[in-house]
Each structure stands twice: as C-alpha cells, then as structure tokens.
C-alpha cells in the first residue's frame, strides 16, 4: 500500500474535466488498497506536498500548469515521484509548435503548418505573410492556440475573411497560434501505455461525428455529437502504421507513463498524419485512453495500477545544474 496524492482541478480551463479524471483515479486507487490524498491544486500545493509527503503523486491535471510541465517541475524539486511524463516531455507535447517542429524535422507526418506569436502580428508585420500562408495551406484552414487542450479556441477558417477573427479567438487562449492545413478524413486516437520493457500502443479509437457532413469539424468537439468506436474499423496495415507512428512520436517527445496521440487518416490520400500528443490524457468515463485500455482487456484499475507502479519505480530527472 502506498500513500498516493492525486493532483486534480487547478485553475486551468480544463478544471472540470480534471476533477472528473481525478475523482475516478481516486476511486480506483482506493479499490487497489492505497491511501489517497486528494489535492485540488492551488496556492498551497507545495506546502501540502511537503506536509503530506506522499510516496507518489498521481497527476490527473489537464491544461495549463498540469500538462505543461509546471507541476512536474515542482514535484521534481520536492522529490516526490509522479505519474506520466517529465517536465521536458510535457513541454514538448503541450506546445503544439514545438511538437510539430520536432515531428516535421524527424520525418513524422504532421499537417503543414505555420505558427506565430501575437507580437509577430503586432510588431513584425506578420499580417503581410497571411495571404502566402493562406495560399499554401489552402482553405479551410484550422487556426488553434499553440498551447491549449480540449479544443478550446480551435477555429475553422473557410475563407480569407475568416482568418483575422479566428486568429483573435485563438490568441485569446495563448500568445502563440498555429495555422494548420485541414485534413479531411477520419479522426483517430492511439493511446500509449508504458511498460517496463517497451511501451504498448493500445487499440485505435475512432471518433465519428454524428452530425451532418457540413458540421464534421465542429462536431468533433461537441460531446454527445460524437460516437466512439474501439477498435476502429481499419485495414490492418493502417492500424499497424498508426501504432508505429504513435510509438515513434512517444519516443521522439520522450513520453513516460501514458499519453494519447491524435491522428488523422486523410480520406483523399489514405495517409496518416499526427496532429498532437496529450501528455495527460483524460481519464473520465468518456475519455479515450480508458476506452482503448478496456478494448485491450486492461481494466481501469489495472491501468491506474500500472501507471502508478512505473512512477514509483522511476528515478526523478537528474538536477540540471
């Protein structure tokens, strides 16, 4: 039995999802016989960690602070082993610009993109480059904040006149934005679960929008408007390729514990591309990682037990001095 601190909530926009993820993790940990210390992350986080001195911290936070490496950095400093990826890997996953550049440079297919900060527009005249971007990416263009989870601020620009408004919206969430070529096709997710020998890619989940075709993009982000199928009905070769790509990205970004890789299967070219990697995938009853684990015969408790065990046995990152 271990004393496990479950870190959840916080002040990110994904607070609600995180509270649900955390609540479910707490239940599973209790069923597994661990002593749970539930912490809604706030100003007293470090103090509580120092007071409670848990054996392990289970990080069930989503979004800013939890998924961007901040909390992981604090856990390193106070010397408490924790679940999931290190600060470095979290940063690489969280910032879509960093992740996409790394993928691009490593030859992992990711939709064409350009990225800008607000200051590029305000002080470097990036506006003048917009027409060129629009020409190269082709409409529709996906505009999203560089760092934000749960599809907050993701906009779909159908014409040049949509782009400025989409940029203003995306820049509400972050100081940097990604303009990305829209891939029309099937929406897939591969969850990867760590293991002592080698990470395991779980069965592919497909998200199928239930609305009419014209709403295909928006429907992805409306809960209830989407049906999930796992394992996705795919050719064996496509499944294999999705798994290969996901494990390659996992390796590239240096993930640990668990992660979810979002991919698109282009309906025109049948090519797979990687959209992004989530360092702390949702663990709610609707989330994709638990569904994929279930399809692989791994119960939620097994999943939590495995992630916890890997965390407890892992050394913290060496001091960067």
């Amino acid at each position: 039995m271990s004393r496990v601190a479950v870190l959840k909530g916080g002040r990110s926009l994904e607070r609600q999802v995180s509270l649900r993820s955390g609540g479910r993790v707490e239940d599973a940990l209790e069923r597994l016989g661990h002593a749970v210390i539930a912490i809604d992350v706030g100003r007293d986080l470090v103090e509580r960690l120092l007071d409670e001195r848990p054996d392990v911290a289970f990080v069930a936070l989503h979004g800013r602070d939890g998924e961007d490496g901040t909390v992981q950095e604090l856990l390193e400093l106070v010397g408490i082993p924790y679940t999931g990826s290190s600060p470095g890997a979290c940063v690489r996953c969280w910032d879509k610009i960093v992740a996409k550049h790394l993928m691009h440079d490593a030859g992992i297919p990711t939709p064409d993109f350009y990225s800008f900060s607000a200051t590029a527009f305000e002080e470097l005249g990036a506006t003048k480059a917009l027409p060129a971007i629009e020409e190269r990416l082709d409409f529709p263009i996906v505009v999203k904040p560089a760092c934000q989870g749960s599809a907050f601020g993701v906009k779909f620009a159908r014409t040049p006149s949509d782009v400025p408004g989409a940029l203003v919206a995306a820049l509400s969430y972050d100081d940097k934005v990604v303009l990305e070529r829209h891939v029309a096709g099937r929406d897939l997710a591969v969850s990867v679960l760590d293991a002592p020998d080698a990470p395991q890619a779980l069965p592919v989940v497909e998200a199928i929008p239930q609305e009419s075709a014209t709403y295909d993009f928006e429907a992805r982000y409306e809960i209830g408007a989407t049906r999930f199928v796992c394992p996705a009905e795919l050719d064996e070769a496509v499944t294999r390729r999705a798994h290969e790509l996901s494990l390659a990205v996992w390796e590239l970004l240096g993930c640990a514990g668990f992660a979810r890789v979002d991919l698109m299967l282009d309906s025109a070219t049948a090519e797979l591309t990687v959209l992004e990697v989530n360092a702390i995938p949702g663990l709610t009853e609707t989330s994709l990682l638990p569904q994929a684990a279930d399809a692989a015969g791994i119960t939620f408790e097994d999943l939590i037990a495995r992630v916890l065990e890997l965390a407890a046995g892992r050394r913290l990152t060496a001091p960067r001095t």
Binding site: A132, S150, Y221, I223, G224, R227, P231, E285, Q291, D294
Partner: protein, 457 residues
C-alpha cells in the same frame, strides 16, 4: 480478441438510457469555462446574484428563532401544493406594490421563479411546439426550453424592449405555416440579460396581440420593484387582468434567492394544471421558507429593504456605466438599464465573447458570454455584465480589465486586417497607407514571398 468490438465503455452503456430531451443538456465548452469563474480570485460579473450581505444578520437570526418558536411543527411538515395561505397574503402584498390585484386562489407558490418556467413549459409544450422568446432571452430559460424540446423562436429587442412589430410578423408567418406558439416568454422590465424595458405602448400592443390571438404570455418579473430611474410601467398582468398573461414573481431579488421562493399567478384553468405538475415535481415548496417570509412580512417593512437594495444597486449600476464609458473602445455599445441587475454590452462582431472569456479569466475577471442567451447560435459578440453582486471597487476593476483586453483585441484585429490607424509617429503618410489596403495587396504579397521561396531552392 481482434474481432472484439466495444463501442465506448461505460458512457455508451448509460448514454443509451438517457432520454432524447436531455440531449441538448450535454456539457459544453462554455459550461467548463463558467466553472472557472467561481474561483475566489476572479471578479465575477457573470452571476445574477443579489447582494444578500445587505440583509441584517441579526434580523435573519431572529426570524429563524421566531419560525422555530411559533411554527416549528408546520415548518418541518409537508405543506399544501399551492402554498401556505399566509405566504399567499405576502405575495398579494408584493403584487399590489406593482398595482396588480390578485386573489389567493389565483396563485401557486413555487420553488423559485425558475420552477414557474419549468412548470409552464412542461404543462403547455409538446416536443416541437413553438415557444416565443426575446432575443436575447434569460439564459436560465434556455435549458428549460431545450429539455422539453420546444422549438424556440426568438424576437429581437431594442432599447424599448421586444420588437412587438416583429412579433406580429413572426406570428403571421407561423400561422401561414399552420403553427401556433404555445406561449410567449418575456421579461418586460429590466430584461435579463439585456437590461432594457418594454415601453408602455408595446406593453399594450403585446397584451392586445395575446388577446386577439388567444395566446398565453408568461411575464417574468423578478426585478420590477428594483427601479433606479424613470416611472414604473404597468405590468402585462395588470394591463390584461390575468386572462391571457401568466405572471411569474419571486422573492429572490427583493429578499433572498436562498429561500427558493417564487410564485405564479395565472388563469384558474391553467393554474390547476400547473398545480398538478408541481405536485408531480416536488409535492410542495419548502414550508420552512414560506414561514420565514411570513414572519418577515408580519413585523418588518419589506418595502424599506427593497428601497435599501435599490439605493445600493443604483450606485453600482452608475459605477458600471461610468466604467464602461471609460474603458470600452468606441466600437462597443451597451444598454442603459433603468433597473434590475444587468448591462448587455455588444462588441465588434469579430470578437467572440466565449473566447474572450478565456482571455478574461487569465485576468481574473468573468462575464456571461452572449451566446448563452440565444438558442440559434447568435449573440457571439455580446456579453451580460452583472452589477448587483459585486462592490463598486470590484466593478470598476473588473470593467477596467475587460476593457483592456477588448481594446487589445480591437487593435489586433485592426493590425490583422490592415486597418490600423496610422500612428502619429509613423513616417509614411495616410495616402500610401491607404493604397496598401487595396485588394491587390493580398496577391501582390503572395507573389513576392513565393518568388523569394523559389529562389531559395
């Protein structure tokens, strides 16, 4: 194993059990955003809260003791579905203060005003039936209409309230399609969320339409007594005499929302059906709350407390209007409420206030995005600002923060569209700047960049 097929674990299992009418009630990005507004460091102009700290705690405590000492057994017991007769006397008094004359047997005591909206919709609306509402409408009514699968048609309003001329046109159009609305839902005084008040002539016209076409109007009047300027307007209920107007009243804004005490005055045949629906919903409204109000009304001047509230809220409204004038850019507009709790501000259409809320939360300030007041996706550039629930310093600071980010976004958009005003320090003259705004700019720039790119290869 490979052929094993799961269609999403747990949730799918339950999802199949949920009634279709709940499908419109799923979680949305906006709801997740609103959840963050409750954090203590956030100045929330998002609530619809009265300031209950203005009610003297000693008085609250003595009323509680009084209820305990004199009515303990009844307060702890079930009560009649229609409400306690003594509570109805209080309601008759509140309605009389707005020149409405009602008999106790025309009243149904409810669990907050919200229950009236629920009961009326439940009683009148079959899936697909038309309900008329204002555009924007009370955000809290939206999930009620959605859960009974009403087809809501929203009528635009202006500074003088609902555009009754548009209402007439809409009713004609619906009639041509063979459709008759089940009821017209309106907040005529200090509307939630827009803050505007229906003018006298429009009030008369609305009642005339209801009578001519034999339609029920549900008049939601939580704030009528909270007037800070201008002359009181007759309620629709008073103009109609209670034949076609069902009236929703509440103690929430004149006393306390924690009591969950509201009421409905309606034509008797409608009331009977509402009573049956209420019995099914919750048997009766908490007798304890009713006894509390009775005790309060017996020995205290409730109208004096309403005057106190009005004085506090008038100052807060003025503070908010001053702050908006100081901090919002010229591109924004907002309403000037003569009472109630809300100002409705509208920004340029390229600003989406749901996204703006995310930005605002980074500055620890919140408001209600306008889209929550529409069922048709409109309202994206508007916001509801509450001035009753926060002190004057917080109103000033909250509006200043909102103003700052709105000005930033206006400036950013200007930059992105190339319409930024020429800065005084800029060397180039306005003529050359204007020339660059020409449509040819886009393709010209593309060629330039492409050429450079090609030469690099």
């Amino acid at each position: 194993m490979g052929s094993r097929r799961t269609t999403a674990g747990d949730i799918e299992r339950y999802a199949g059990l949920f009634a279709r009418r709940t499908h419109g009630l799923t979680s949305s990005a906006m709801r997740d955003l609103m959840a963050v507004t409750n954090r203590p460091e956030v100045i929330s102009l998002a609530g619809g809260l009265p300031d209950t700290s203005t009610f003297p705690p000693e008085l609250f405590s003595s009323l509680m003791s009084k209820v305990g000492a004199t009515s303990s057994a009844q307060a702890l017991q079930y009560g009649p579905t229609e409400g306690l007769p003594e509570a109805m006397d209080c309601i008759v008094a509140v309605m009389a203060a707005e020149e409405m004359h009602v008999e106790p047997d025309e009243l149904l005591v409810t669990t907050g005003g919200q229950q009236v909206i629920d009961l009326v919709t439940r009683t009148l609306v079959d899936p697909g039936d038309v309900v008329i509402a204002e555009a924007p409408t009370y955000p809290g009514a939206v999930p009620v209409f959605a859960s009974y699968q009403a087809d809501v048609v929203q009528i635009d309003l202006d500074d003088d309230g609902m555009r009754v001329d548009l209402l007439r046109e809409t009713l004609d159009r619906l009639r041509a399609d063979g459709r008759t609305p089940k009821f017209i839902y309106t907040v005529p005084s200090f509307q939630n969320p827009a803050g505007v008040t229906l003018g006298l002539e429009r009030r008369r016209e609305l009642v005339r339409i209801a009578r001519e076409r034999q339609l029920i109007v549900l008049e939601d009047n939580p704030y009528g007594l909270l007037r800070y300027e201008g002359e009181p307007q007759p309620t629709l209920y008073a103009l109609d005499g209670g034949e076609y107007v069902a009236y929703l009243g509440t103690f929430s804004k004149i006393l306390s929302p924690g009591l969950r005490l509201g009421w409905c005055a309606a034509p008797r045949p409608v009331l009977q059906r509402l009573n049956a629906a209420k019995a099914a919903a919750d048997l009766c409204t908490a007798p304890f709350s009713q006894h509390f109000v009775v005790a309060y009304f017996r020995e205290h001047d409730w109208r004096a407390y309403v005057r106190t509230l009005s004085d506090v809220y008038r100052r807060r409204r003025d503070t908010m209007l001053d702050a908006l004038a100081e901090h919002l850019p010229a591109e924004a507009s907002w309403t000037h409420p003569h009472g109630g709790l809300f100002v409705w501000a509208t920004l340029p259409d390229y600003i989406d206030t749901t996204d703006l809320l995310a930005r605002a939360l980074r500055e620890n300030v919140a408001f209600v995005p306008g889209r929550s007041a529409y069922l048709d996706g409109r309202g994206g550039s508007s916001m509801r600002l509450n001035f009753s629930g926060v002190g004057e310093d917080d109103i000033r600071e909250g509006v200043a923060r909102i103003g700052k980010i709105v000005r930033e976004q206006v400036a950013l958009y200007s930059t992105l569209t190339g319409q930024a005003p020429v800065e005084p320090s800029a060397r180039r003259d306005a003529g050359s700047e204007a020339a660059e705004h020409d449509a040819s700019r886009r393709s010209a720039t593309v060629h330039e960049l492409r050429a450079r790119r090609a030469s690099e290869r």
